[in-house]
Amino acid sequence: MTALSTRAKLGVVAASAVLLGSVAAGYAATAAEPARTPPPTSGDQAVTLDPGARLLAITDRHVSTVATADPAGPRTVSGLECLRVYAAAGTGVCLKPETAWSYQVVVLDSALRQQRAVSVPGLPNRARVSASGRMVSWTTFVGGDSYTSSGFSTRTGILDTTTGVTVSSLEEFAITRDGRSYRSPDVNFWGVTFTADDNRFYATMSTGGKRYLVRGDVAARSVETLKENVECPSLSPDGTRVAFKEAIDADPAKGWRLSVLDLATMRVTATAETSSVDDQAAWLDGGTLAYTLRQDDGQPDVWTVPADGSGTPKLTIPGAESPSPLT
């Protein structure tokens, strides 16, 4: 090595650069995806969010609907690109890419027309609309908050579509933990689900390595903890039960069990779904939960399971994610 002259060394570096450059360029050329075109629409009708016997879901990043009676059957796919979608009473919410690095929360009317858009930092994760269609909520993951440890934190926002009042982060709310006022820089919220009064809500709060079910009040700008190890709550249509993912042995590393909490008795019932469910489940009716599961290659499918612990999970919408009933 020492025999090489400086000129020869520079030659070797240049040759290596060219070689490595071609490897990178060659790989990039084969990896480059063709420009994404909106999938063709099947059926005569466009996608609408009007209440009806259809299920809303995302197919290949586009908003689509299927008939509740035949969810694996013909699918209507719109040109609207979203990573998460949810709808109720003719109001929709869509977490949509804005640039390569940023996302928008878009409020939709029943014809998928944009009513309002809020730019949000971070990567989209959860989206919900209250049963009346008035309140909208979203969660994104933000990387920069814990810059040095490369950990994530979450941002959860709420928008009142009637007044336009926006809570950009639930971390502004006053926290009561186990009956005492609480504050900590590591508090994170995610997965909001609204009650019928369009003011109170349930959500997940994490702090100090634990995750809690919290009940919140938008008008009072406060939250209080109710129970430990209850993540991504989803309130049943009658408001008596919360579907959620329960970390096995309270350790998220072991996966999650899709379960249902009875709010009156605080009793937890595990569903028949034994695969780890990392999703905020949606109630299709008073007795059925829908959720996304991913295959080994990351392809999503929508599954359903009875909420009372009976029955077996059923593959419902193949190749789709982010399910929502159209109520």
């Binding site: 650069a17 990039a28 990567l123 440890s149 900590s184 590393a253």
Partner: protein, 426 residues
């Protein structure tokens, strides 16, 4: 101006004219190491920029799953850093150990492709990457001290750290360029990042010299460094003092995340701008590293390190003070960047000559490890202080802690006057 040397990393130019001579005061080996760091940092920051996107959008992993990957490796990395430092000293193969570190990190980039959606596999790959980073820093810094006359160490580290941060700046841009070309194939970013890292290893192999001309030669007859001798390092008073001072420096630092979070709250900065806060600090660091290194050689390293602490304390006070808005952001980031520029490389420049050449890598690894572990402790403590007293009081307490550390550091390091003056024993 020092960055101009990047374009010709190897030549030791004949001394023609005063300008040339000045640049020649940074040795070819330092510029070569700086070039390796620059290229490696492009590669590392490319991946850092897209990793969250890849994990959350590409793999649809939950962030909690990602959080599980994080944080458990720090202790093991710290220990292996010292072991690697000792191995480099024992076999007098600092370049080899540094090269292994750079290679491990390069291979980890390809590992991301193979890990797929498996959380344990991704965790292992990230661990290998960090291990590589841990193993290489001490031998690299030892090589810098061994290829630089003691009176020019500040400048050498300044130039090295400035080059390093240029790479950190270019990395995200490179990642963005790749994504622009290939769409959402994060694979392509990882492969490109691997190729960039591999090029850095080539430059290291060809241009970095284990024993630069004029370096203290440990003759072939010298006995090998023993474990006992390595432990004896901590028995020497100057070494103990410098390791202790480094740990204190770590304790006084509350963590970038907290600083940016406080700044964002105080300045009511829109969250979209949040990632740019780190960019602002890096910019100040990049611009100030070389000048402050030169200043350290002129007026002494200890005063510059003390100045760095003072800048840190001032930044903390600003976060609790009356200034608001953009002036607050600009001032805080400038002070925070100045703090890093005045302490990061300069501290090693201060430590280098105190450590015996035979055990320099081990010693530098001890200094870096002490600092890193203390930093972890301080972040936890600051989190607790925030919880107990609220952010405003917590940062005031942190400022007081900095003042305390400042005094103790002065007591620790100022007594042996040879630390301050340029007459440093080898």
């Amino acid at each position: 101006m020092y960055l101009s040397t990047v374009s010709r990393p190897v030549t030791d130019p004949p001394e023609v004219g005063p300008r040339r001579r000045r640049m020649a005061m940074v040795s070819g080996n330092v510029v070569a190491l700086g070039t390796v760091s620059l290229i490696t940092d492009i590669s590392a920051e490319m991946v850092a920029a897209v990793l969250p996107l890849y994990l959350v959008l590409g793999l649809q992993l939950s962030p909690v799953a990602f959080g599980v990957l994080d944080g458990v490796h720090t202790g093991a990395t710290a220990l292996l850093r010292v072991v690697g430092g000792y191995a480099a000293d024992r076999f007098r193969r600092r370049k080899l150990i540094a090269g292994i570190g750079y290679t491990l990190s390069a291979v980890a980039k390809l590992g991301l492709l193979l890990a797929g959606r498996s959380v344990p596999a991704i965790g292992a790959v990230i661990a290998v990457d960090r291990l590589g980073k841990g193993v290489r820093s001490a031998p690299r810094d030892a090589l810098i001290t061994l290829s630089t006359p003691p009176e020019a160490l500040g400048r050498a580290f300044g130039v090295h750290r400035a080059m390093d941060s240029v790479g950190a700046f270019l990395g995200p841009l490179a990642a963005f360029a790749v994504l622009l070309v290939v769409g959402e194939s994060y694979d392509a970013v990882f492969v490109t990042s691997f190729c960039v890292a591999a090029l850095a290893v080539v430059v290291l192999v060809l241009f970095v010299r284990e024993r630069p001309a004029g370096a203290p030669t440990d003759g072939p007859d010298d006995p090998k460094v023993s474990v006992r001798e390595a432990f004896g390092l901590l028995r020497s008073r100057p070494t103990r003092r410098i390791v202790l001072a480094a740990a204190l420096l770590g304790l006084a630092t509350i963590g970038d995340g907290f600083v940016y979070l406080l700044l964002q709250r105080r300045a009511e900065l829109d969250l979209h701008w949040f990632p740019l806060l780190a960019v602002g600090t890096s910019l100040a660091y990049l611009l100030l590293a070389a000048p402050l290194g030169v200043l350290a050689d002129r007026i002494g390293r200890l005063p510059v390190v003390i100045g760095g602490y003072s800048a840190l304390g001032a930044a903390y006070l600003l976060l609790a003070g009356p200034v608001d808005g953009w002036p607050l952001i600009a001032l805080t980031l400038a002070l925070y960047g100045a703090f890093y520029a005045a302490t990061d490389g300069v501290l090693i420049a201060l430590a280098g000559p105190v450590l015996p050449a035979r055990l320099r890598t081990t010693g530098i690894a001890l200094v870096q490890t002490g600092q890193a572990l203390a930093y972890l402790v301080s972040s936890v403590l600051f989190g607790l202080a925030w919880q107990a007293w609220g952010p405003g009081n917590a940062i005031r307490v942190a400022a007081v802690a900095v003042a305390g550390v400042l005094v103790v550091t002065l007591l620790l390091l100022a007594t042996p006057s040879r630390l301050v003056t340029r007459k440093v024993p080898r």
